[in-house]
Symmetry: C2
Subunit: 211 residues, 2 copies
Amino acid sequence: MRPAKISESAVRRLSLYLRVLDAFELAGKTTVSSGDLAELGGMTPAQVRKDLSHFGSFGKRGLGYPVSELRERVTEILGLGRRWRVGLVGAGKLGAALFFYDGFRGQGFDVVGVFDNDPGKIGQHWGRLVVEDIESIDRVVRAARIEMGIIVTPVISAQSVADLLIAAGVGAILNFAPTRLRVPPGITLRNVNLEIELESLAFALTHENGA
Amino acid sequence: MRPAKISESAVRRLSLYLRVLDAFELAGKTTVSSGDLAELGGMTPAQVRKDLSHFGSFGKRGLGYPVSELRERVTEILGLGRRWRVGLVGAGKLGAALFFYDGFRGQGFDVVGVFDNDPGKIGQHWGRLVVEDIESIDRVVRAARIEMGIIVTPVISAQSVADLLIAAGVGAILNFAPTRLRVPPGITLRNVNLEIELESLAFALTHENGA
DNA sequence: GTTCGTTTGTGATTGATTTCACAAGGAAAG
DNA sequence: CTTTCCTTGTGAAATCAATCACAAACGAAC
């Protein structure tokens, strides 16, 4: 039930299954086969079954998986059976876009702290929150029991912000700054690097056909 | 020189090498070893050498790689020796954040078309551009010879926008809508799904220690 | 010009992930 | 109750990616 080691990509597929299951539940289906899940999720039936089998056996042979129950189980596995408190560092345009995006709240993530080091931004009201000074990260993260950090600062500040968040007890960081952050063992780091994404498109277009 | 098949992850590492090389060039170094690149890029020396060897042999044994020349070669390999014309669909907060982000221009990507279907947004001036109706995608993409699309629309519109872009000749799409797009063979698709990133953090925090 | 220390390039190896293929389980029909 | 038709769960096999380890190449020193 608590498996040895699940690959990063398998975990990401679980998130996809969850969305497909939502769609099936909305459509009123009560059971789905691994083939159904694979079809809409864009992978193979065998992979769906293998992924799910790491966490137990939820399906009935000959019939498939019960939509509602599987959705609950995957939600639980992903750690989405509760709400998460998130701190957002960087109150620029991208920070604002993320803050006001509803999708996070819908999935259980509440941004309960916003930070910047620009005196022009500190003190601004964002929804019910006030933008705090980066200097206050330690205090606010502890007071609000913030568990995850999102870094949307320029490259130059990213590492020091990460250090501050970690010192204050944050255990996981989502980094949008296009730089490699160093974090101690035990801290989970994921990077979203938009430049790399575009560059990978450029590579694909350049090499797809002798062009 | 034109290798058979390069893994997606190897291409992404090339982007990282490019950034590390920039840093070394700025610092005035003329040569770097695979060890140096690995140190700052966060991978192993062997991997650096293997990645680079797919495209030729750029280094000198006993000495390392010439920074400036290697930077040029990697730039060329990634297809960044030219500028790319990009269309941005979705003029919401996230679209605006991406549009006004300087990093893309710096890497050779010019957003030369912005689209939305909200009458309140169509006609707005963004920098030198005017936000166009989604209905005009076909005309504008052809006229401006747009090569890549970035989709930052709600889920509901994402697939139809992708279809429009592809029909107009776009060969690569970067999709931010949290849904799976279907694209024909030959079209390159990359997804950035922020919900999945957060969920993978939640999974990590939930499973890291019996907590 | 020989030796020494360094670093590349790469075949071989190991490791991880995906796919295959099939036995076993279950529902349904007669 | 037996047969038929599906679909799961999972070892085995195949594919793909990362790491190892070492011969070959080069510069520097003397």
